[in-house]
Assembly symmetry: C2
Homo-oligomer: 451 residues x 2
Amino acid sequence: MTHPTALESKFRRGEAHLRCIACGNLQADAGANFRCSTCGDLLEIFYQGWSGDAAGDLKSLWQQRKLSREAVDQSGVWRFRELLPSLLSLEDAITLREGNTPLYSLPRCARIAGVEHLQAKHQGMNPTGSFKDTGMTAAASFARQHAFQWVACASTGNTSASMAAYASRGGLRSLVLLPEGKISWGKLSQALDYGAVTCQLKTDFDGCMQVLNQVVQRAPVYLLNSVNPYRIEGQKTAAIELMEQLNWQPPDHIIVPGGNLGNSSAIGKACLEMKELGLISRLPKISIIQAAGANPLVRAMRDNGGQSITPVQAETMATAIRIGNPASWKKAVRILKATGGTVDEVSEVEIALAKAEIGADGVGCEPASAVTLAGLKKLVKRGFVTPSDNVVLILTGHLLKDPEFTLNFHRGELLVGNQQEANMLARQRRAPVVLDATVDAVLKVLNGQGN
Amino acid sequence: MTHPTALESKFRRGEAHLRCIACGNLQADAGANFRCSTCGDLLEIFYQGWSGDAAGDLKSLWQQRKLSREAVDQSGVWRFRELLPSLLSLEDAITLREGNTPLYSLPRCARIAGVEHLQAKHQGMNPTGSFKDTGMTAAASFARQHAFQWVACASTGNTSASMAAYASRGGLRSLVLLPEGKISWGKLSQALDYGAVTCQLKTDFDGCMQVLNQVVQRAPVYLLNSVNPYRIEGQKTAAIELMEQLNWQPPDHIIVPGGNLGNSSAIGKACLEMKELGLISRLPKISIIQAAGANPLVRAMRDNGGQSITPVQAETMATAIRIGNPASWKKAVRILKATGGTVDEVSEVEIALAKAEIGADGVGCEPASAVTLAGLKKLVKRGFVTPSDNVVLILTGHLLKDPEFTLNFHRGELLVGNQQEANMLARQRRAPVVLDATVDAVLKVLNGQGN
């Protein structure tokens, strides 16, 4: 057993500052809403003065922590704490042993997409079943460190589940605001179990966000929506862990689902920082795939090179990325440009097909995650990804997050546009067959399947 | 990076034999049905000739493998391969990085139950969301090693999900048999996604099992129901990993949910073997809790000290342990006696309450897992567990395995027997409140909650 304080490094930790992503304004305090006090845009954390010559030292430090029995060392987020703001104290860390997610080869998906080397970093294997946990451990810990007793978000999905878990874990109370009447009970079940207080407001989602923005200014409630820059810091550790798993040899491409665009921003930020520190010697291209029905970033890149974004009315069965007005779009555009990545969009049928293909590799994921494989197929066809490239898909949510989607697919209840698409789906469909209870009937099915 | 072959130990691996649990008959081959060729009872694996003086060596070997990038070393099952049958070859290992599950403290549950030291080993954090994965990696690997192309089970729940995932992962095909008309689509969604062939037979569950027992004798299909002794070997690693997490200091009590009784048998088997090898110096008491509506083991222990078991018509909302005729009851009785554990049963209301309490500690689990906390309360009241004892609960399934149960609870749709129970549940209920979309309305709710 190695106590964490015994693990020292020659690395000098950078001083963390809050900086506006638009006007560059530095500010000491994030305020209640994490907005620039000058121009109102988002804040990010940047580090000043960290030493860049301790890469080997850091790598071995992080490895050694795997042998420790301390909770913060067993966390796949806090294990990399040298690249997190030092004001996040270990004593206040609220951890569920998040991170530590597997990197799976996807041999059949690779053949389907036409690449030789395809892997998936499965962030859906986090404790509450989505990548949100890696960010929530950091931001919820910040809340506790600053003596907040309440945290809050407007969300009906993965964010509220993760927030509620970390709040309970840390002895905090949590508040979830959601629009009345549009409640998705399935998505809310985790938040209820973890003890969140949930309020259905007589308004839409934007209305909930507006009320919440005022609540956090009038009461000591800590905002945990994705504008919170500490969430981004926690989420970026997924990329650090990925590089460690790859023995610090970056892949050629990382492909990320695009919803609110915080996750692609976080992964890109980590890559830029790792490059700066000499932990990796080159940048992977980070590309972002959106559902065609929720594609504001794709449109922005196509129409104006990412200078401005026009919100869309989002519609996709991949609910985790059903976002028409993504909060972190400017951060994402910066990552696309800095790494040389691209964007693309995929149809509902392409998503469903890709999800079944990932499942058939024994992995499984929620629909939003499957846009990565669907998008990869297009990037290969476009020539942006070449067959010999190393590709890593970021899977963001667990298969169990959305069993209904899986069932509708295999029961043939998915609506499709044309016969060609219907045929494609039918080939992947695995509906149960009804048989007499005889050995011969079962053997006939087996023989009919070939191998 | 440490290559596994570079990690050697002075430990001499035991020769694995198949032995009948009833008549002790040794047999070289398990047959297609894993039954004793003499008396028809279950087979188990036992080890002959392993050296008992290498405990420290094994402990450090297993620790060092945590630093390896090899898939078999990253598995929480294969990392402990010295205690698995050596005929399971590493080349054929099918792994999803199972095991490696967290050990959580449960501070609030501890106060509620009246003990000082309470932890939960969360086997629901395995890749497909249940403890079945640790057994399935071993048994599915055995199937591949023996050139089977098909594996099969009769199940609609966690077993079929796990089997389908490992089969796909290993390039095998999988067959699930289930009774027609009683299909639980939600539970089946994972098996479909992972590519299983599912057949609904016009019979009941026992009828499915009978057909399957004949199918595996007439066709090269490998049986993966719980009678498969390799599943038990894989599952026992959870206890080894637990002891490692506890720095090889056994707790006073381990409390396990009782359904088919394979899991309690596996955990007990591991403890006995670890004691024999000097890895631990004393045995924890292993106790088994059943739902009152599915309590054949509790009845057997009460009525005849576990000499015989009478099947019951099982009924409980904790579907994962809704089993009236448990296959591994003899193995479980042996563990109860060898470790000095006990049994108890808990009501539906007690299960629901315990589940909400575990959730409020930020952890969450499926209903069957919650019987452990509900049972602990009773064991404390009985004086079997004393307040200063160290207690570990085994949580077997992920919260997302059964969102409906959670929702019914918080929506107040759970049927209860009397007013006292209804009041108990109401105190844990967290149904959403509907509000006007104003800051004042939300603040009023917050103020009403206290902290």
